[in-house]
């Protein structure tokens, strides 16, 4: 990545004070810890993780809907400081967020024209309003841009008259109304019927080809591989592996990424091998010491239990936060497995 990242997280951390639940009062939920990630302009970057991995919190930090506990977000190389509604509005002109639930994110009492017209008016560029009908022409253009044609017909429809895919298109149109430079899509297809998912991904892909930078937040590795150039895998609030999409899927370096891949349904195999690692992700209130994955990791040794691993480069633009990739001599017992892993990761270079 030579160009200045369009969006960047530096040591970004978000802790929440836990609510009044049983045994939770006064405790701290460490949702995102020391995340550093650079998003290249014009790229699609996928953030992949299970529920509770911190991926949605990271998306909201990027969108400035949460203030970070520490660390910072940079937009085009400059630190973002959102302190007022006005500065948030200015930032939102560049960075937009769409959410998972196309049922919950549209006002059921308003025709979708109204929903899309709001941001056109709030962020009005004089062109959009001059174009006619107090912004109506612009809304029709946006609806047609996301495949809701003819836009004039959809303008006066209500959310309940649309399919899930069409509703998600409305929320994309609403985000596009401000002509943003970055679109963060948090699980945009996971609530849609299978036959509608590809349509929405295709639309996002078209928008990306037209220059929009996209951060695709998902739990689904296959669609991340298909759609994104870069994949960042999150576990327990940290990025544990990052690299070119093909490299992460075909030559995973972190044991957790391997576990995710092994668990992903693959129609080409029958009755797959048993999973090597079992168990469930840790509570973000009681994170284990050392590497958060160590209680489930088949390769864990003493060092993993004590020290959180830094990020190690495993190939060009490909890194993993795992002691197995420490180039210094590893502890005796992990030597064999570490060598095995290295063999997996040395035979590829660069972005496919």
């Amino acid at each position: 990545m030579t160009a200045t990242p369009i969006l960047e997280a530096r040591a970004l951390t978000k802790h929440f004070r836990a609510g009044r639940g049983v045994g939770a009062s006064g405790s701290v939920v460490r949702a995102v810890s020391h995340v550093t990630l650079a998003v290249a302009p014009g790229s699609v970057t996928a953030i992949v993780g299970e529920s509770g991995s911190g991926k949605s919190t990271l998306a909201r930090l990027f969108a400035q809907l949460h203030a970070p506990t520490s660390g910072e977000v940079l937009f085009r190389g400059a630190a973002v400081h959102v302190r007022s509604a006005r500065s948030l509005r200015r930032y939102a002109k560049s960075v937009q967020l769409i959410l998972q639930d196309p049922y919950g994110s549209l006002n059921p009492y308003r025709p979708i024209g109204h929903t899309v017209l709001r941001p056109v008016r709030v962020h009005a560029t004089s062109d959009a309003l001059k174009a006619g009908g107090g912004g109506r022409a612009e809304v029709v253009r946006l609806l047609e841009r996301v495949g809701l044609t003819p836009g004039g017909d959809f303008y006066s429809k209500y959310p309940h008259e649309l399919s899930g895919g069409q509703r998600q298109r409305v929320s994309i149109a609403r985000a596009l109304a401000v002509n943003p430079q970055v679109l963060i899509a948090d699980e945009p297809i996971s609530m849609l019927d299978v036959s509608l998912r590809l349509g929405v991904l295709d639309l996002l892909r078209d928008l990306n080809k037209a220059g929009l930078t996209i951060i695709y937040v998902t739990h689904d590795l296959p669609s991340a591989r298909w759609f994104a150039q870069t994949i960042a895998v999150m576990y327990a609030g940290r990025i544990v592996e990052e690299g070119p999409a093909e490299a992460v899927v075909n030559h995973p370096a972190h044991p957790y990424t391997k576990l995710l891949l092994a668990a992903t349904p693959d129609p080409t195999r029958r009755r797959p091998e048993k999973l090597q690692a079992r168990g469930e992700p840790p509570s973000l209130i009681h994170l284990p010491d050392g590497c958060a994955f160590h209680p489930r990791c088949p390769y864990a040794d003493e060092r993993c239990r004590r020290l959180a691993p830094p990020s190690f480069a495993v190939a060009h633009a490909h890194s993993a936060s795992c002691w197995l990739h420490d180039a210094r001599p590893p502890a005796q017992e992990t030597l064999a497995s570490a060598t095995q892993l290295d063999n997996h990761t040395t035979d590829q270079e660069g972005t496919p």
């Binding site: 036959s195 590809l198 590795l221 296959p222 759609f227 029958r270």
Partner: protein, 346 residues
């Protein structure tokens, strides 16, 4: 397929009545073999869940069976039409013959009772175990089948993760050793690693307890991995039924073909996907003829006029499809590849 444990015959289910009635299941016939894993795939509104609720006699009010039979064939004794049972007879047979676990099942646990109380409640209601100790033992055994240690009997639902709660529900469904276990999207709300662990346990349960599993999901990739046979449902009808490997490698119905090409897998080539046009149909306003025709690339006039029936394909009596393309008695324009395949099959 092995000997049938369950025969569903021409089942029709409607919601409401009169001219506004919505037909959610439209003439479904299906046999579940003893010991097999049968996968039922379909999108929302395809009628897959309604079909499962109908055969377990759990349809919500307004839903009712219009016609058809659900014949349960126990290991010993006479076949029973499940739909004809009432009162005590139904109570005795349900759960002991067929048990069901739904997607939201894990939210059905009582938050103020511990796991043991809820498991032993089922046992006591059905007269399993002569005393408290025996029921405790059985509850612990049921948990161990789904990979949970006995110390969790003392846990309350909020102390368990979603995956654990869903396992408790599966354990509960096994309480009376049913012949058929129906799992309706049991892992859809769970993370992929948890899903895989539960699938492994389900495969083990099938081996150990020799029961049949009906696995309902929208996730075709998952069914191709674990099911013996797969059926695809669309707009209340079965549109294709066959061996999982056969259906994966050579699907016949254009909808099955399109579904397979509509989601990326870990090995999909960048341009190998093609999206299905349109959206799943509204059951209140189904198109005439074949319900899939508005979205079908191969449609002809006949598809708009006549509804195709589910018929067996040539040499493989177990591979059935409801599509005029493959019914050589129907006159229509077909792509050359389909004509050649039909010729070869005859």
């Amino acid at each position: 397929m092995s000997e049938a444990v369950l025969d569903i015959e021409e089942l029709v289910v409607e919601f409401g009545s009169g001219p506004t009635a919505v037909r959610a299941v439209d003439g479904v016939s299906l046999s579940i073999g003893r010991g097999e894993i049968f996968g039922l795939a379909g999108e929302s509104g395809s009628g897959k869940s309604t079909l499962m609720y109908a055969i377990t006699r759990l349809l919500p009010p307004a839903g009712h069976v219009v016609s058809g039979r659900v014949v349960y064939r126990p290991r010993t004794g006479e076949p029973v039409d499940f739909l004809g049972l009432e009162g005590r007879a139904l109570q005795e047979l349900r759960w002991a013959s067929m048990a069901i676990v739904t997607q939201a099942a894990m939210n059905a646990l009582n938050p103020v009772l511990d796991v043991e109380a809820q498991l032993t409640d089922v046992l006591r209601a059905h007269g399993v175990g002569e005393n408290r100790n025996a029921r405790h033992e059985r509850a612990a055994e049921l948990l161990s089948i789904v990979g949970i240690t006995a110390d969790r009997l003392r846990s309350y639902p909020h102390q368990l993760s979603g995956g654990m709660r869903q396992r408790v529900m599966i354990a509960m469904s096994l309480a009376l050793s049913p012949d058929v276990l129906i799992l309706d999207e049991p892992t859809t709300a769970l993370d992929v690693v948890t899903q895989r662990q539960i699938l492994e346990e389900i495969l083990e349960i099938r081996e150990r307890l020799d029961l049949s599993i009906v696995f309902v999901t929208h996730d075709l990739a998952l069914l191709f991995e674990i099911a013996d046979r797969v059926a695809v449902m669309y707009a209340g009808e079965l549109i294709e039924v066959g061996d999982a490997v056969g259906l994966r490698d050579a699907p016949l119905h254009p909808y099955s073909l399109a579904l397979r090409a509509s989601f990326p897998t870990l090995t999909t080539a960048p341009d190998a996907l093609s999206r299905l046009p349109g959206a799943p149909p509204d059951l209140r306003a189904l198109p005439g003829g074949c319900p899939f025709h508005p979205r079908c690339d191969f449609r002809d006039v006949v598809c708009e006029a006549r509804r195709p029936r589910l018929i067996a394909m040539g040499d493989d009596p177990e591979h059935e499809v409801a599509c005029h393309l493959h019914d050589t008695s129907v006159m229509m324009t077909r792509p050359a590849s389909v004509v050649a395949a039909n010729e070869a099959r005859r």
